[in-house]
Amino acid sequence: MAGWAFLLLAAATVFAYALNRRAADALREDGRRLHSLPGFHGGYAALLVLVPGFLFLCLWLVFQSAFINRSVMAGLPPGTLDGLDSGAVQLLQSEIISISRGQVFGTPEPWKLEAATRMSEMRSTAGWVMIALLALIALGAILYARSRVSAAFRARQGFERIVHGIMVACSVVAILTTFGIVASLLFESLQFFRMVPVNEFLFGLNWEPQIPIRADQVAGTGAFGWVPVFVGTLVITVIALFVSVPIGLFSAIYLNEFASDRFRAFAKPVLEILAGVPTVVYGFFAVLVVAPALRNAGAEVGLPISPNTALAAGSVMAIMLIPFISSFSDDALGAVPQSLRDGSLALGATRSETVLKVLFPAAIPGIVGGILLAVSRAIGETMIVVMAAGLIATLTINPLDSVTTVTVQIVTLLIGDTSFDNPKTLAAFALGLMLFLVTLGINVLALRIVRKYRELYD
């Protein structure tokens, strides 16, 4: 049905364009001097149909299924939903939906079949109503646009005003996205903090989210203190930086100061390949190669290394960060004015002395900015740690132990069973909120440092 609606909209748009363009052409053939080219008359009509029609369809489709589901669930025989928690209600709803789509498993109760029939009836009615309303909107727009065609009508201005509006709307999407992120995180986190006090979350030293979801499950009592989770994130981040900062920085120095042009032309794309490898690949690499290698090495020297050691996740994350740090340092070193370099060399300093004593100090703000961005990336990195780090939050800073991270907890809490009314699920949103705030703070700081430094030499 939606496909037909979009087809109808496209046809109406083309029709509106042709109608107005012909009308304008006819005026012109009568010898009238038009203010705007006939194409603009057509374009004005087309946009007048397209924009409202498209908005209408999108809104309708977004809210249609939610509305139908809700009214079908409300119309169930009284008492069916008594005693069901939200997860069970969701399960029931999706069962009814799948029955209404013709996927019947076993023999459902008659009231379910009845609800499913009502659902598919409502769906087809809603489809027809949608098409009728769309036709009405399109017809109104076509008639209005047609009535505007005249020699004096400023169709180009009208057309450009609509296009301008569309472009503003496009840019506002970015704001809406941020708003959506903040709203969804805050909304769910507030629900979480209604169940678990903020203090307990921020300062608690225990993280055991495995609480029973159903009454008959055996599980822990639940503790939601994010400190060990965050410490684990920091441990992995520190390991990653410890490895990647020297490698990235020295690569950048070598590429910038010592490498021949040919080597540079070869090395930069190779580093970019490292940056383009998806993180799920790094995660598998950590599990397949790095963790076993570390464990064997540990066994050789008699060190007990946990299978999910933070070292494995951290060092693989370092690989991911190397190109990031190296390209930022490269930019920062390259942005130091040539005069500083020339001056130092002219005074007799060697290249290495120039790099270490002149260029590096001058480039430090840019490099620090880049490292900060790398930190925020390491904190927010998900797949590597989901695959290679542990699940249990232990409050430790020993890199050989298994630690967990904020992102790991978010993913494990939300994979599978998600009903939005128990602290286990909502805790993921609280963690997400903290993650968002921490990375946002670091990013803002880093961008400010980088910008300030750029202004210094511009």
Partner: protein
């Protein structure tokens, strides 16, 4: 030159000066060496990464097949109840016919060698052509995973029996089949033509490939026009005011928001508030579109900025409106740069995993999606699922899936580089 430095001039050949110089040159060599070592480390890591994935992945591009002559006896299969016949028994007959001298225990082992699909393959043949009842059907089916591993040399025969996944009897039975010439290694087309399965020998990427395609399509259809619209507005029309600044800061920050947070957004807003279907590539595409948007906007702005002002001035000078200038002159010239940035953004989106996990694209689904609204997996989430599977056969399949994913990424980035080199103009 020499007569300029007279009297108290520095003696450049004094021993302390020379040793000082030597020390300084040594420092120079050190820094150069450390730098080279650092960059070579990065190269080595890349080589190890690709090498280990290829080494474990290439074996999954072939699959051991076994050729079976299956006698479809009229006792076992009744023409009116073909689907409900005892197909397992039919397969056991086939094994018995192949090795008339085998004991019952051996037959049981032999019957486990073909993958469990074998009986369905025979059944489907007979269903399609009931005249086959009473005749012998020859099928070529994958062997089950442990034997596949054995044939590829991934199971060490020297391991003590109790630590091995295949017992001596099983290996002996398999060797008999090999000697009889019934076993062959063939290209594993099922890897791309069939969907996911619990059995490694049957699992393929078809569902994931189609899911990723739908997700990327959605992502492109949404983020490309919106990104270009936003970039044109910000670069060419936006007045310098608070709103424009706010939008700009927003875009820069969005580019650095962790991907898992976008997943939370998708889960709460698209699934929770809008009630869109779980695990659907369309929803994945929506989330990826929001993530790709900043990349496209930033690339488009850079491409627009690179078009020289003389073009704009010339167009304005002959009476074009500002929008005509942008849409008819600047935008076409900037298009190669925009497309390059878009393809790179889409390549990033193709490898993105975490947000797709949160909206449920890691479900176990054995059918390829027919529309973007059906439940599906995507390539990276399929990799994640397989990496988590305990069966040994999935290790090489995960690597193979990664190689497929990397192949697509190389293809997309190659296309972007081609576009850049072929069409981008330097002014």
């Amino acid at each position: 030159m020499t007569d300029i430095s007279t009297g108290t001039a520095q003696d450049w050949n004094a021993p302390e000066v020379r040793s000082n110089l030597r020390r300084r040159h040594r420092g120079e060599r050190w820094l150069r060496g450390i730098g080279l070592a650092a960059i070579l480390t990065a190269f080595a890591v890349l080589v190890i990464l690709l090498g280990s994935l290829t080494a474990s992945g290439y074996k999954a591009f072939s699959q051991t097949f076994i050729t079976l002559d299956v006698p479809v006896s009229a006792d076992r299969v009744k023409p009116d109840r073909i689907a409900a016949a005892n197909w397992r028994g039919v397969m056991q007959d086939a094994v018995a016919a192949m090795f008339p001298d085998a004991t019952d225990a051996e037959r049981k082992v032999l019957a486990a060698i073909p993958s469990s699909v074998a009986q369905f393959a025979v059944r489907d043949r007979v269903l399609a052509d009931p005249a086959l009842i009473g005749q012998t059907v020859t099928v070529s089916v994958p062997v089950s995973d442990p034997f596949d591993q054995l044939h590829k040399g991934l199971i060490d025969r020297a391991t003590p029996e109790e630590n091995r996944r295949l017992k001596d009897a099983e290996i002996a039975a398999f060797d008999r089949l090999v000697e009889a010439g019934k076993v062959a290694l063939r290209p594993n087309w099922a890897l791309v033509t069939s969907a996911d399965s619990r059995f490694p020998e049957l699992a393929g990427l078809r569902g994931a490939l189609i899911g990723s395609f739908y997700a990327l399509l959605t992502c492109f259809v949404i983020s490309f026009p919106i990104g270009i619209g936003a970039a044109i507005y910000l670069e060419e029309f936006a007045p310098k005011n608070r709103l424009s600044d706010l939008i700009e800061i927003n875009i820069n920050n969005l580019a650095a928001v962790p991907s898992v947070v976008f997943g939370l957004l998708g889960l709460a807003v698209f699934l929770g508030w809008f009630g869109l279907p779980r695990s659907a590539p369309f929803v994945g595409g929506l989330v990826l579109a929001l993530m790709t948007l900043p990349t496209i906007i930033i690339a488009t702005r850079a491409a627009l900025k690179a078009v020289p002002p003389s073009i704009r001035e010339a167009a304005l000078g002959i009476g074009a409106s500002r929008q005509q200038v942008v849409f008819q002159h600047v935008l076409p010239l900037a298009m190669p740069g925009i497309l390059t940035g878009t393809i790179i953004g889409l390549a990033q989106a193709l490898g993105e995993t975490a947000p797709l996990l949160l909206i449920g694209m890691n479900a176990f689904i054995t059918a390829a999606p027919a529309t973007p609204f059906d439940a599906a997996t995507a390539l990276p989430t399929q990799i994640f699922i397989w990496a988590d599977s305990p069966e040994r056969g999935f290790v090489s399949r995960t690597s193979a899936a990664i190689l497929v994913l990397l192949g697509f990424l190389i293809l997309m980035n190659g296309l972007a580089i081609f576009l850049r080199n072929r069409f981008e103009r330097r002014w």
